[in-house]
Amino acid sequence: MMNQPASSRSAAMIAVAVLAIIALAVPRLAPNEFILSILGFAMIYAMLAASWDLLIGFAGLVSFGHAGFFGLGGYAAALATYHFGLSPWLGLPIGGLAGGVFGILIGIPTLRLRAVYLALATLAFAESLRIIATNWHDLTRGSLGFNLHPTFFRLSGEAANSYYVVLLVSSLSIAVIYYIARHTSLGMTFQAVRDDELRARSLGIDVVRHKIAAFALSGFFAGVAGALYAHYLGLISPSELGPATTMLVVAMSTIGGIGTIIGPALAAIVLYLASELLRMIGSTYGQVAIGALLIFFVILFPEGVAGWLSRQRASWRNKRKT
């Protein structure tokens, strides 16, 4: 926040620095391909959750079709790399562009819809993409998924390098999303539109254009996340476009604290690692556990963990003042 006291800002800086050092050191501490790949996917989900939060937490627009942006970005990156022989690096901006353009295409017809209807419409968009990906066999190889595209580091034994790529791209993207949301007049204007459209319009704000911009930006970062996923895993399949992906993102962001960007990103990492752990233990009830966790957090921390923390900090500061 702009007017945060210096002490809490430096505390946040220290926390970020510690996290960064740990993240950078993991390949040395635990040179285990499996651990690295799980951490990489957690980072990708963190980025996806942050992109969702930009849309709902700042522009006030509900998307239940975020898997659509994610999967579309993944397919666009994989197919473009394969069919046009492009470098996998170019897949990232291509995936982002696909997500961004799709965001505009979804945004325009659905802008006048209110929350529930917007949620349903975006869900329907994502579902139609999933059906196309499943049935357009010649292009996507159907439900098996697409895995013919070259990825960043093809040789085995380069897990650490791939991990660093994912770490770099996702943390950079989360930082950019945070910066846009909290420190630019665009991000401020999104919040104005979210809080009071009429007031916004009377201040000269083109509400429609800003909503479309929010969809485009959110779709862009979700698309980059999808592209990163397709290249990191070497596979993109229709199931990534499904509602389970979206629900995971919604749960992560809600638990982390909508409207904070960092909260959803951190919650995504924790939740993803937890769900993988459950799977390793052999629990078939992983989804159920995530659902139960979501209910638990929504009841105990209705503003998310980040919201709860900032309220605790504020009341602690007030107490100290008096």
């Binding site: 702009m2 007017n3 007049s185 401020m188 204007t189 919040q191 104005a192 809080d195 009071d196 009429l198 007031r199 916004a200 319009r201 009377s202 201040l203 000269g204 704000i205 083109d206 509400v207």
Partner: protein, 239 residues
């Protein structure tokens, strides 16, 4: 040339005639009052002038340019600012953020002097010490001041105020009167809806009276106060 020319505008909500054939002019550099009993159609006139409601008929010209039914954000960018009868600020954002948003979306946002502009507006309404507070946490009167500062920071040439002193304490009425007087002196044109007649006659050189959706009178404060139709319209209501 008047800054605003309203000719024959009308508005119906279903079967309700909210405004019928209203015409008046707002002169540059003075305050014009728009008065009338509750439900006379004053706010509806404001909503049509700022593009928030479509006019069913008639035309509106601002500085010679037709703005009838133009999108409200475009009207705002031409140089018309307004406040709302039920004060509207962005409650989740700080006072400073509210002003920054207004500044960034004004017709000509300052490239470098943005913070100067924002602080001048804050100083004018004497709200500097509240800059970091969430606007939603302020008192009603303070939110009215923030709302006015948001309009001022955009440097509009015409400011429309919908009941600026309704529900505020007498001290603040005085302060608002001073602030508006200073705006007029600096060349800004005002259009003012207000039930506090003393406040209106103290500031306005010209008054337009609406009653039951129609124009009742139009003249100097002296002419209006002497007009028997006006007296009857107001005595006939709860004023």
């Amino acid at each position: 040339m008047p800054i605003l020319e309203v000719s024959g505008i009308g508005k119906r909500y279903g079967g309700i005639v909210a405004v019928e054939d209203v015409s008046f002019k707002v002169k540059r550099g003075i305050a014009t009052g728009l008065i009338g009993p509750n439900g006379a159609g004053k706010t509806t006139v404001f909503d049509m002038l700022t593009g928030m409601q479509r006019a069913d008929r008639g035309s509106i010209r601002f500085e010679g340019q037709t703005i009838t039914n133009l999108a409200s954000h475009k009207i705002s960018r031409l140089g018309i600012g307004r406040t709302f009868q039920s004060v509207r600020v962005f409650g989740n954002l700080s006072v400073l953020e509210n002003l920054n948003i207004a500044e960034a979306n004004s017709a000509a946002p300052a490239r470098h002097g943005a913070t100067d502009r924002v602080h001048r507006a804050l100083a004018l309404v004497e709200m500097e010490e509240h800059a970091g507070k969430p606007a939603g946490a302020l008192s009603y009167g303070q939110r009215k001041l923030v709302e006015l500062a948001m309009v001022l920071v955009q440097e509009p040439r015409l400011i429309m105020l919908d009941e600026p002193v309704a529900g505020v304490n007498p001290g603040l009425v005085e302060r608002l009167s001073d602030i508006l007087r200073r705006l007029i002196d600096s060349g800004i044109s005002l259009l003012l809806v207000e039930h506090n007649i003393r406040f209106v006659t103290g500031l306005c050189d010209h008054i337009v009276v609406l009653a039951a959706a129609r124009m009742l009178a139009d003249g100097t404060p002296e002419e209006i106060m002497r007009n028997p139709d006006v007296l009857e319209a107001f005595l006939g209501s709860d004023h």
